[in-house]
Subunit: 296 residues, 2 copies
């Protein structure tokens, strides 16, 4: 079925009535770079006033949820830590609730920024590797040995990645029986202003190649993060809608979880790509999330 | 045709008579780790006394040829810089003689160790990137811009690899029209004592993934290094034999260049794998290069 365009107040009203929970991608939906999308604060306020649950879902693993709240505040939007779900937090929830790291006393070897470390440590998981930024040479490589304490290698974008970190992660993955391998996301590139730069998924290729292991990828468009969200908030898929600006990540993410999806045109996707029958098919589309402010 | 075993003095003598030039892999042939293989110094002396040309071919790009000569000396073997051909030197020869970097005033952005930088600088090619070891963050990523001076990205094992280096290499590869992409080798792992560690080919995966470009790989078993050797010394393929301990790299390397090959059993390959009809087929095999000392 072709995506339904939400244009009139009546379209928008029946859309809102149909769902209890809305999951939002942020960049391209709520904001573009550091600019808020027109009407979005009012739209979010309107949804809150109706008692809807709002959850902001991001592949960003480099910023902790607490810091994400600050970013929201700077843009004039009030959000609670509990409303934010990042691939780093999803990893922490997975290791804690599914892999039961709390009871096994296993540690995580982390290649990634402080966002990941904070989320893991906040649920009581010890993280290793932060200090492994010192260069190494061939003659001292043999000092890098598997550590039986390591039960998972967690990989996110790391602006301080080093050969030493990759070597530690590698030997733990290859030699620690049952060591989990989790990547926060597999985005090939990331936008950094005028140019694109190597993303988490590209850095991750090194470790996949050397270890010949395949990571579980938490973030959009992969399913584990959505499973975490649904389980954490005990959501009813039939009453939940995923809102995003990208067909291949956000809309695909919603589809994988059996959710309705709304594609907005304030980011990557345009009307033509939304209506292209070979793209992932959104349930709805509308020019901007700000349109919902009309219902206020 | 099944590989011919060289056992008797008569086998070995007719082998030696048949070739003017011998190319040698080092680790597993000349030495094992830091121990010389028995009889090898005498075998090499015997070949020299017959006026044979000896060339030592290595994928190691982290050590300059000058430092390699010192390693030979420490093990009691006299070798000249001109007798050593590394993937780093092959890269320098390629950029200088084939890509004509001298006349175009292009620089090379290098991810790799001092071995590569020394070889490139020795043929007059300016190298960039050495100082790009400082961590970076998302907010300053936009400072990393393509540099029009960069005509090639050269990639070798780098124990001091950084996100900043990968970002520079990435934007140059993607945005500099005609920028060459050369890797010294694509070895997935490298031995470092008790364990294997990520090799040049694994680190390289990051940049291949982010840039979606395919590098020219100089080192064994790829052909570019052999083309460089053959051109540099104006060798006759019919009178040249490649000697190594690995079927998938050394023997394959010789086969690709139309050379005869001798596989020795002092390293990775054993008799069973040499005789396995599904492996690359060596022309000859013998238990050790040291056997040639019998002819002295």
């Amino acid at each position: 079925m072709s995506p339904q365009k939400l244009e009139t107040n009546s379209d928008l009203q029946s859309f809102v009535d149909r769902y209890d929970t809305f999951l939002f991608d942020c960049d391209g939906v709520i904001w573009r770079g550091s600019t808020i999308v027109d009407g979005v604060p009012e739209a979010l306020d309107m949804l809150r006033s109706l008692g809807k649950r709002l959850i902001f879902v991001t592949n960003n693993s480099n910023t902790s949820r607490k810091d994400y709240v600050k970013k929201f505040a700077k843009l004039g939007i009030t959000a609670a830590v509990e409303e934010i779900f990042s691939s780093a937090y999803a990893t922490a929830v997975y290791l804690s609730d599914v892999a039961k790291f709390g009871t096994t006393n296993k540690s995580a070897y982390v290649i990634g920024g402080n966002g990941i470390r904070t989320e893991l440590e906040d649920v009581g998981i010890k993280t290793l590797g932060r200090e492994h930024t010192v260069p190494i040479d061939l003659s001292s490589l043999a000092e890098v040995e598997p550590n039986p304490e390591v039960g998972a290698v967690v990989f996110g974008i790391d602006y301080d990645v080093s050969y030493r970190k990759l070597a530690h992660a590698h030997v733990n993955l290859v030699h620690n029986e049952g060591c989990l391998f989790i990547a926060t996301n597999d985005d090939r590139t990331l936008p950094g202003g005028k140019y694109m730069y190597p993303g988490c998924g590209s850095l991750l290729s090194s470790l996949k190649s050397s270890s010949q292991k395949t990571p579980m990828v938490m973030g959009k468009p992969n399913k584990p993060m959505l499973d975490c969200v649904m389980r954490k908030y005990d959501l009813d898929a039939a009453r939940t809608c995923m809102i995003g600006d990208r067909l291949d990540t956000d809309v695909q993410f919603g589809i994988s979880g059996g959710l309705a999806t709304l594609c907005v045109l304030t980011g990557v996707a345009d009307e033509q790509s939304v209506l292209n029958p070979t793209s992932p098919q959104a349930t709805y589309y509308t020019s901007s999330l700000g349109n919902l402010a009309q219902l206020a």
